[in-house]
Symmetry: C2
Subunit: 479 residues, 2 copies
């Protein structure tokens, strides 16, 4: 099936697509803020209705113990391959609001960039595939291959309920490959396929001292300060060479051979490019590795936030009663998040000063993942990029963690094709996040081409129409 | 003049006094929050009206570049000594509000304790003297000695405008001794006179990295984290023995001889008492000194608050763009706040990692102060305590910093009698601050006795009725 008609539909409807993406971005579907659960639900409803409108069959809103999963499928191509398209409709908080030039949930077009929280991560990227599907279904009334979509609402909090959903629906979710767009290219004319994801693990470290704040004049120098103790403990999480100082932390880190490192050197960004993306003058971290390696094949530990004592304007002479830090690990093959959690807890116990008490909560364990660059589904993606963006993609490792990549590999036994449409300057996870619209249009074309090329995928998996999802409480969306 | 009539008036009007103190405590006169400046002004107005009503002459509200000073005097005893009574009507913020059992600015009586922000520090203590003056003026229509009151509204932010006011009005403020109640006793039956105050110096330390928050997956391990850097810098402000690690910091710290340390050992609280007051199990700090010494004759550096990155609920995978810490020094003789500020700035410059930028703001320099325990004005206070509380006071060093003590000594050349009426369990500077009412009543009696005893003070200073305050814009309060 030649994608000509779908491509011309997509070109003709760019204005409509942008308007629809704006509607999608209007929902403050923030998964890390419990008070946003109503907005999450409304956003899932909107997306489900939209998928139905695009022409997909079997649209379902599947409740979980957390936020719902939106599912849709089109399985009318028996004997042909099946693609599982994954994305997430949840976003990070907009805070700090004062640093946005336009409000995070009022999508605003500036030049060719659409500004809004989630514009690039991941609503805009996810929507590129939805629009590709629509372009086929509204023109040829069919797709070149079978498609199953799962769009989840908890990626930004570590996908706590997705793995069990996939495990429960192993048969129903069978596919030949998964397609995920939640990563970035190097520049608008330099597409990229990610073939490695770091794993992750989050920790909250609390230090407590006196039962209530003390006057620092009366007690300063005689009673230990939880905030000072927390700083001293955090200072002992790295050594002077930028390495994580937790004993045993590097034991299972895989050492890559010269060939792989040479490949990375050829394909990956230079130190200068990474510094330019971050807008900082000099790098930091583990010696013996360049910046690209430090963010991909080497693990990291980051303090994401910290709070204690008086934070308002002015001064307050206190020894605070407690202090807290939010930390996150990025892990690499062959580190096991469970083992890292144990090592961290042991280290914290060891370095907690005797005059204070510490406690650790750990969550969102994500295993690192690798994808075979030579898998036919990945090679097809490279060809699709050439058509959609007019350029061959580079193969990159990504420093982030998409929890589902590992899950797809381990539970469904399929590779995840990580086709990135974001740009380094999209400001994801920061104020003024935006999506470059030319990338949106090229992404839709690339997805249209990929669907056409996927017809030739080997290892075709027979779709059994009788296998249904385990969704006792799911809402069926009919127009 | 025997104080019998004043004492019986005070006893008879306890209920009225408590009601009035509640009105005084209703004002959220928080000096560190600019949005409270209206409440500061209303509180100053109320206090001035109240002083007028108590029978004082010449009540003035004196504007400064910051919060106004409330002045009142009664100078109708020519040839007799003059007392300068100092207090502050500003308070610390009520935050964190959630930890108060009753709202901080809704004064609430529980058993014998009046709960409100400022109840003990310093509205309640200041008010004890006001009520003593009223008790004389409403009965004998005169005071045993001349009195000048200055009640300022900026003590909790380091009295930035008081010194220049006193310097400008050196002649008009002439007195034989200053009387200050802004310290504590050891227990309701163990009064205390403070004869030493630590000095102070505040600092805000900011560390900046990338111009905006970065995704910690994409950049974690390759870009330095201002929050981690700040923790590592704070960790380098103390050595492992609890000493401040700023080179040169201890150079000017006075070494006290065995005699003074033996006196302190006899009169001061034990380690056990200090730990019990703080409600912590074990002490911390500089080895070679007991806890009382660590909080009085040894300097200290405290992190009062810190903020950076994501602090809300849930997680946010970022390398924050910046982090900030609020710190305060407590200084002892013969440390000079200016020199300490210079040493701190130099040290911060030295320990700032090259991949981030730091900046330091310093303010509220207060010099440490000592009062001669054998000065007649101090000895008279000991006698007054015996009458008012039925017990002789101990002589204590205080760990806090009352900026004006040093100012009175240096500019006016008079000793400050630090007659404390607070209790260790008053929770000053923390949630649930309260004032023990039996202490309030005994404090009024003690003040009445002190005014009577001050008649005999040597070194009487002639009051010149023609010397007026420099207050071009002051509002004169008439009933």
């Amino acid at each position: 099936m030649h994608p000509a008609r779908a491509l011309s539909y997509a070109r003709a409807h760019r204005g409509k697509f942008v308007t629809e993406l704006k509607s999608f971005l209007h929902f403050p579907s923030v998964s890390s803020q419990p008070e946003r659960s109503g907005d999450i639900r409304k956003c899932a409803d909107w997306l489900a209705q939209h998928l139905k409108g695009a022409g997909l069959d079997r649209v379902r809103i599947i409740p979980t113990a957390g936020n719902p999963i939106v599912y849709a499928s089109w399985l009318r191509a028996p004997g042909r391959p099946t693609l599982l398209i994954y994305g997430h409709y949840d976003v990070l908080p907009g805070e700090p609001l004062s640093e946005w030039h336009t409000p995070p949930f009022t999508p605003t077009l500036k030049n060719d960039n659409l500004h809004a929280r989630g514009a690039s991560d991941d609503k805009g990227q996810l929507f590129s595939h939805v629009k590709a599907l629509e372009s086929y279904l509204k023109t040829t009334r069919s797709l070149p291959v079978n498609v199953k979509c799962i769009f989840e609402g908890e990626e930004e909090i570590g996908s706590p309920h997705l793995t069990s959903f996939i495990a429960r629906n192993k048969r129903a979710l069978r596919a030949d490959a998964a397609l995920i767009s939640d990563t970035r290219m190097l520049a608008p004319d330099r597409p990229a396929i990610s073939y490695a994801q770091r794993g992750g693990l989050r920790a909250e470290l609390a230090v407590k001292g006196p039962p209530h704040d003390l006057h620092s004049g009366n007690f300063g120098g005689a009673v230990h300060n939880p905030l000072q103790a927390l700083c001293e403990m955090i200072a002992r999480l790295h050594d002077p060479h930028g390495r994580v100082a937790i004993p045993g932390f590097y034991d299972d880190v895989r050492r890559w051979d010269g060939q792989e490192r040479a490949f990375m050197e050829r394909t990956g960004p230079t130190d200068e490019q990474i510094l330019q993306d971050a807008k900082v003058e000099r790098g930091w971290g583990e010696s013996g590795f360049n910046l690209y390696e430090r963010t991909t094949i080497r693990p990291a530990l980051t303090v994401n936030g910290m709070a204690g004592g008086h934070q308002g304007p002015g001064a307050k002479s206190i020894i605070p009663a407690q202090a807290i830090a939010k930390l996150s690990f990025r892990l690499v093959p062959d580190q096991d998040p469970r083992k890292v959690a144990r090592l961290f807890r042991e280290h914290i116990k060891r370095i907690t000063p005797p005059a204070v008490r510490s406690s650790v909560r750990m969550f969102s364990a994500i295993e690192p993942a690798l994808v075979d660059r030579n898998h036919p589904a990945v090679r097809a993606a490279a060809l699709a990029y050439q058509r959609g963006f007019g350029a061959s993609p580079v193969f990159l490792r990504s420093g982030g963690s998409i929890p589902v990549v590992n899950t797809f590999q381990k539970i469904l036994g399929i590779p995840a094709v990580l086709m990135g449409f974001g740009l380094p300057e999209d400001h994801i996870h920061s104020p003024n996040e935006n999506f470059h619209l030319p990338n949106f249009y090229n992404a839709i074309a690339t997805s249209i081409w990929y669907l056409a090329m996927a017809v030739k995928l080997r290892g075709v998996q027979r779709v059994d129409e009788r296998t249904e999802l385990t969704l006792p409480r799911a809402r069926v969306i009919t127009r």
